[in-house]
């Protein structure tokens, strides 16, 4: 990015790029243009160093040893819980369960919270633009317990149809579970409005924040979320760790998820009692070094100007949208006002997989496929799309490289 762009957005992307070692590598002799951030973001030195340093100096198991290192590791692990609390503005660290990923967090809620209250015919309300992680756990309840999944519609622009959503929430609704930001369309949903709609009928609400956590500021108290989920690797942290926020009265009422060490109070020959939340939901050795990486990623994000990052990402999105609209035969999916920095698209006459293969050889990494959102693909009337998703280290030049590569790919197949 040049100086003019820095001045426009108040954000020094060149300096930011130096924090991410992988961005200096080449692929196939070309500069890497990494636009698959919605699948997983790259890692800054701060995260890599924090994990390495922890492993080199303070690593041990947590919550069980009385020795020095165990105590140090426990401090690190609990500091990550506190970092996640801060990141979400949760009232207390005990509201935060650390999981092995976002997907596990959805399954935990489905298994420990929702499943026990499902009678045949009870309903879960989700939307047409959910990720499979916020669909398949509810299908389990449909298959096993006769739950009914109700699908809130989206408009052709990718905006959630709030009237339709409201009409679906009724006396049989046990949970409303909606994405806070679509991983395909980029749509950011009005979380507080959705929560109020659900609460007006006494229904708890869960938000999938896996995309929103990195693009939007999340305040679980302001949006009155009952459950909120995000994962480490999409916010520049490591894989293998997720975060589930839950209101305390739900947590204390929820049955345990997995059984094992760490989550119990006492285990006898014919009886078992369980520990309190959050530990009751963290059976076995937790993702300790991943928690350290998560905390480092959160500190990294706290150390940069969120408004400037947001302006930068929006500038990338606007530039890419303008360039793609100007090109022939490119269709963009998702034009919700205020959407996050993700563009799903298709190129006339070229299958997304062919496109991704061809531009990969120019160093441009995008996702092609169904994006773990089969119902949304059906809703859009496609089997697959391309998707470019932007992060704080992407540049306007990279957008141009991407669009030029798309155009060459299109010519190649014609």
């Amino acid at each position: 990015m040049n100086a003019a762009q820095t001045a426009r957005t108040g954000f020094d992307v060149a300096a930011m790029r130096r924090e991410f070692p992988i961005l200096s590598r080449e692929v196939y002799g070309k500069k890497l243009v990494y636009l698959d951030n919605a699948a997983s973001a790259q890692k800054p030195r701060a995260v890599i160093d924090a994990m390495r340093q922890f492993l080199e100096t303070d690593y041990a198991n947590v919550h069980r040893g009385v020795h020095f290192l165990s105590s140090r590791a426990t401090d690190h692990y609990e500091a990550a819980r506190e970092a996640a609390r801060r990141f979400l503005n949760a009232p207390a660290a005990d509201n935060i369960i650390l999981t092995h990923g976002g997907t596990e967090a959805f399954n935990l809620v489905a298994s420990s919270f929702t499943s026990p209250m499902i009678a045949p015919g009870d309903e879960i309300v989700i939307s047409e633009m959910e990720h499979h992680a916020n669909i398949v756990p509810w299908h389990f309840l449909r298959e096993r317990q006769g739950a009914v999944i109700r699908w809130a519609r989206i408009g052709d622009d990718g905006v959630l149809d709030l009237d339709h959503l409201q009409s679906l929430i009724g006396p049989r609704t046990k949970l409303v579970a909606i994405t806070h930001m679509s991983n395909v369309l980029g749509t950011i949903t009005p979380a507080r409005v959705i929560a109020d709609m659900a609460h007006a009928r006494g229904v708890p609400v869960l938000f999938d924040g896996c995309q929103a956590a990195v693009h939007a500021r999340v305040d679980v108290q302001a949006i009155d979320a009952d459950f909120y989920i995000f994962c480490g690797h999409k916010i520049y942290g490591p894989t293998g760790i997720g975060v589930l926020y839950a209101k305390p009265h739900f947590l204390s009422a929820m049955r345990p998820y997995q059984g094992g060490g760490e989550m119990i109070r006492e285990v006898g020959f014919d009886a078992v009692t369980y520990g309190d939340a959050p530990h009751r939901f963290e059976a076995g050795t937790p993702p300790i070094m991943e928690a350290v990486g998560l905390a480092a990623a959160i500190r990294f994000l706290e150390g940069i100007d969120h408004a400037a990052v947001h302006a930068h990402e929006q500038a990338l999105l606007a530039h890419a949208t303008r360039r793609l609209r100007a090109a022939n035969g490119i269709r963009i999916f998702g034009e919700a006002p205020g959407k996050g920095a993700i563009i799903a698209f298709d190129v006339k006459g070229v299958h997304p997989h062919d496109l991704a293969t061809v531009i990969d050889r120019e160093g441009v990494a995008i996702r092609a496929g169904h994006h773990c959102a089969h119902p949304l693909m059906k809703r859009l009337g496609v089997t697959a799309t391309g998707r470019a998703s932007f992060a704080l280290y992407n540049t306007m030049e990279e957008v141009d490289v991407f669009v030029a590569a798309l155009q060459r790919a299109r010519e190649f197949f014609q």
């Binding site: 299958h351 062919d354 293969t357 050889r361 190649f412």
Partner: protein
């Protein structure tokens, strides 16, 4: 667009079949049908055969997907007509072996034409889609 094996992957014949697939459509009097879908990308191919006296006398496919999966289906289906069942089985298994890298493809064969996919491991399943559909069709003997 000469970059790094792309011309081997997307040879002219493949691009041609991808753009203008042959043998597309239904086959109302099919005796054997097989289909496969790629769970990663959603590509799908259905191959329908009419087999009389142990010989394939008509073959059609329907499908949706990338240039590799559709060209592979087109070329495979086109090649099937006139084969007896043993030939068709052998054809499918030699294509599978070549695409999976277990044996070198015969010169000039369909497998040789598609062998550029070997340099793109994530795309091998695209080329194999129609092979699997064919295997299923042949396995569904009346």
């Amino acid at each position: 667009m000469n970059a790094a094996g792309l011309d081997d992957l997307y040879r002219e014949a493949i691009l041609d079949h991808g753009r203008n697939p042959r043998c597309v459509g239904k086959l109302d009097d099919a005796t054997h049908t097989g289909c496969d879908a790629n769970r990663l990308c959603g590509d799908a191919v259905t191959i329908r055969l009419r087999i009389a006296d142990g010989r394939i006398d008509a073959a059609r496919f329907e499908g949706e997907g990338c240039a590799i999966s559709q060209a592979s289906a087109s070329m495979l289906t086109e090649a099937l007509v006139g084969m007896n069942l043993d030939d068709a089985h052998a054809h499918a298994s030699s294509m599978r072996a070549a695409l999976e890298g277990r044996q070198a493809p015969a010169g000039g064969s369909l497998a040789a034409l598609l062998s550029g996919v070997r340099a793109f491991p994530e795309r091998i399943s695209c080329a194999l889609l129609s092979v699997h559909a064919l295997e299923r069709a042949l396995g569904a003997a009346p």
